[in-house]
Amino acid sequence: MEWSSLAEMAACAEEQGISLGRLVFLGEVQDTEGQERSVYERMSKSWQVMKEAVQEGLNNPSKSRGGMIGGEGHKLAAYLKKGRSLSGDVLDAVSRALAVAELNAAMGKIVAAPTAGSCGIIPGVLTMLQEKLNLSDEAVIYALFAASGIGLIIAQRASLSGAQGGCQAECGSAAAMAAAAVVELAGGTPFQVLDAVAISMKNNLGLVCDPVAGLVEVPCAKRNALGAANALVAADMALAGIVSVIPADEVIGAMGEIGRTMPEALRETAQGGLARTPTGLKLAKKFLSLE
């Protein structure tokens, strides 16, 4: 990819009068010496798998490998149907994100977005939005290119891995990418996309990776759920015209720096945070004794 910052990408898209998603798509075609059709089809395949994962996770919930989670997405969807939820459509996206994260923990088929541990957020948010706004698959697929362009910059300037940067790098990046996709789908400008990225990511700065028993279950699944909510609210704020005081590129830089200074105990080692609570330790012991 020829861009080294989000500001550069957004300026380039504005100049050419195209969306960020289209810009990233054309960049991918150029980089891979690929044909537009095959690059598009590849993202289209990922989108199909994301949709299937949402349905599978919601309709056929199963217990996770470690036995700590399973069925909560389904439970939330049922609660939502009663029509008394307090957070409305946001909760719809949340239930889907949770369902996909649970499917991942039960060895179902998912798309790493950007990682397997954060795979629920983008499909949760985008499938809800597609149904609510009656969007075409094509529109969503370009929004996925926009999201992956954001992810590429985060990967370059910071990290997408929990072991390197904590959960801010996994669920935090996924939420920022989802927020970007939402703004793009809602017709926001490339610079509004950047504000959504910045607002979303700022609220996840410092988020530690502390998986109980080292498994991708607790707190991962529920962080996917809340990452979906974060993405939607951040997108709405940006669409309302709220500007992030700290620009997106600098927020990403801060995320990278926080990750580097974070103690190793809080970077996917299961040596700190929730993994070290009395219940976390008890669950880990129970699980490891099964070995």
Partner: protein, 223 residues
């Protein structure tokens, strides 16, 4: 970790959960062992090191390693049934915790036996994001990533052998992307790994097999 270049490094891979390093990477390591064995596996002992040893059951690493040995892809939803599939394929297996020394925390060692009795020892690591590296084959140190088609030879360590092989490849218009040579003792057995940009037709492989001093030639696909 390798630098991300493509959109599909970010949204993707399509895989079976829960973890790209503990599940998808493990499938690829198993597939690599299957390729290197070159026949249907009948029996395997699998040694798990570090994080693989601590959490293999919760991540389904055990199921994934067997799935790879059976030739399944990283996005095959039958990965979670791989123990049953192994039974159907008459593959016996065991898992053992091990300390493999100063190696990557996600490291596994296979002792494999194939249907004709051929035996293979392979060690490799899952290095993150579904990437892998095979670090040892039958006692030879190697560096094999599974991203290219690769020719692996064992041959007598005699001057000119490497040139013979590269000549065959150049005659068929096959470009070498990466190449490594290793040996156990000077003048005795050596091994070479040649990663190529183009795929290797069977007749090219046969031609290399016919060369003097070759004792085995295997083709390993991308995994």
């Amino acid at each position: 970790m390798a630098k991300y270049m493509s959109c599909f490094d970010i949204i993707g891979p399509i895989m079976v959960g829960p973890s790209s390093s503990h599940t998808a990477g493990a499938v690829r390591l198993g597939k690599m062992a299957r390729y290197l064995l070159g026949e249907n596996p009948r029996k395997t002992d699998i040694f798990l090191h570090g994080s693989f040893r601590e959490t293999y059951r919760g991540h389904g690493t055990d199921l994934a390693l067997i799935a790879g040995l059976l030739g399944l892809e990283t996005d095959d939803t039958r990965i979670k049934e791989s123990f049953r599939l192994a039974k159907e394929a008459s593959l016996d297996f065991s898992f053992q915790p091990a300390d493999l020394g100063d190696v990557h925390p996600n490291t596994v060692r296979f002792l494999l036996e194939g249907e004709t009795g051929y035996r293979l020892e392979m060690q490799g690591s899952s290095t993150g994001g579904g990437n892998i590296v095979v670090t040892e084959i039958n006692g030879f140190p190697v560096e094999l990533y599974g991203n290219f088609e690769t020719i692996i030879t064992t041959h007598r360590d005699v001057p000119g052998v490497i040139a013979q092989v590269t000549q065959v490849l150049s005659r068929h218009g096959i470009n070498i992307a990466f190449m490594r040579v290793a040996r156990k003792n000077k003048g005795k057995m050596a091994s070479m790994m040649i990663e190529t940009d183009q795929s290797i037709p069977q007749e090219v492989l046969e031609e290399i097999k016919e060369l003097p001093y070759m004792s085995s030639v295997r083709l390993v696909g991308k995994v």
